[in-house]
Symmetry: C2
Subunit: 270 residues, 2 copies
């Protein structure tokens, strides 16, 4: 936790902000409050973030319940924000801060591969936001490295799995939703292959329900992995490090865009 | 602002958290604090986010200073988080919350097109995070629609501009950095074209400095657009809505992956 001196009283800033009922604030603290002494905290922390301490508190969640939440949230905030919301709204209830201060709905822009541009599927992006916000960024030290690897594993799994795999209890589309394997973490490729096989248009109710179920499938795996991490049992499965192996950031499906004529990037001197 | 009743004292929760020196907290408020009465606030807001009210407070920033910050931050947190940090660390100093509660460094994962997978360039993703966190998501009403359009405009501009355009005052690489036009918002395509033209490897100091300058170029434009929005003068320039125009989410460079054999997606019935 984040302790700051206020006069002689050493209190947890988070406890103070949340008022979780366990704050024993002394006379010095009250004086600091009534005289505007909190300004000391503000100045001291003006540059550094108050939530940039990892990991964030986490309690294990139910994967099925999380997937149901993601499915239903898709129809409000679409893929990326639905994945974030499915995890963070539960943690807002069970824990409170810092999840309450995270602006989940801002991430609606992850829809359609970022504002409709068909780049990374928002479900993958949302999962990466969640894992790196909770566990932390890899630069924050070895305890945080799984923020990166849970996210990267998701893109590997997403690319190589016939999706969607989650069926909601009360589907908005009663007809069967066919599965396709994207071989890519990109929205355009994932949605395009599904549209080609299913014959349904982008604007169809079936395509929307397919994407809602994909978001739910991703949210399910995300919580399975976060729970394993919480138990100290998460083992990364992906070993995809294209910068090292092929000399450029990339996916695993070079041929799909390049055909047989895959360029050789300039390589560093050995 | 976000006002809550604590006993008879009606105070701004943000003022209380920031302690900006202007809080006149009455006896009832002190009683609520010492008896754990803040728990009322916690329970009342358990489900809803405390920062999901848009726009977030914004003061106009200097584009050149922001670009310098982004350039230097690239060498600490890489492209996406550098763009976010360049804007939010200034707003932490000038405004305080809610920027202090936003976990900037979690967004290191945007590096290399998201954990090295070469999808959307992190600078584009970071700019979208910033615009949608400050202005708001498009679902939050017409006042927030420019969160989406500032972000989408960035991807359009990024795709069609010879980058980098920003030269730092104290470049880490003294040699000239050539410019390339990506015709795509993707990391793999943007970096790949630059590597091909320049002959420098992914791991070279020159490539790193090129990406740091691209992040700085994006941060510069981002602040120009945010300042225009603050003045009520932002006009979206991009009209790219591929879902409507070509029936699938996507970029503008179909031929680059598909060659001349561009598939026709199934279209919705008219």
């Amino acid at each position: 936790m984040d302790f700051k001196k206020i006069g002689d009283a050493e209190i947890s800033r988070r406890d103070l902000m949340l008022g979780a009922g366990k704050v024993a604030i002394g006379a010095a603290g009250i004086a600091a409050l009534s005289s505007g002494g909190f300004g000391l905290i503000r100045n001291a922390e003006a540059k550094e973030g108050s939530t940039e301490k990892w990991p964030w508190p986490y309690v294990k969640l139910d994967p099925d319940k999380t997937a149901e939440l993601a499915y239903n949230e898709w129809y409000r905030v679409f893929c990326g924000a639905a994945v974030i919301s499915s995890v963070f709204t539960q943690l807002r209830e069970k824990i409170g801060e810092p999840y309450k201060s995270f602006p989940i709905d801002s991430f609606v822009f992850l829809e359609g591969g970022m504002a409709g541009w068909g780049t990374v599927c928002g479900s993958n992006a949302g999962a990466n936001v969640v894992s790196n916000v909770i566990i932390g960024p890899r630069i924050a030290g070895p305890d945080c490295e799984h923020g990166h690897s849970v996210g990267s594993d998701m893109m590997d799994w997403y690319s190589n799995t016939a999706l969607p795999i989650f069926t909601p209890k009360e589907p908005k589309q009663k007809t069967a939703i066919i599965q396709t394997t994207a071989n890519s973490p990109l929205c355009h490729v994932s949605v395009g292959k599904w549209m080609k096989k299913s014959g349904f248009a982008l604007g169809s109710a079936e395509r929307k329900d397919r994407c809602a179920r994909v978001a739910a499938s991703v949210a399910h795996k995300l919580v399975v992995d976060l729970n394993a991490w919480k138990d100290g049992k998460f083992e990364p499965k992906s070993s995809w490090t294209p910068g090292k192996s092929v000399g450029i950031t990339g996916q695993q499906n070079c041929n799909e865009c390049h055909g047989s004529n895959i360029p050789t990037p300039p390589m560093a001197k050995k």
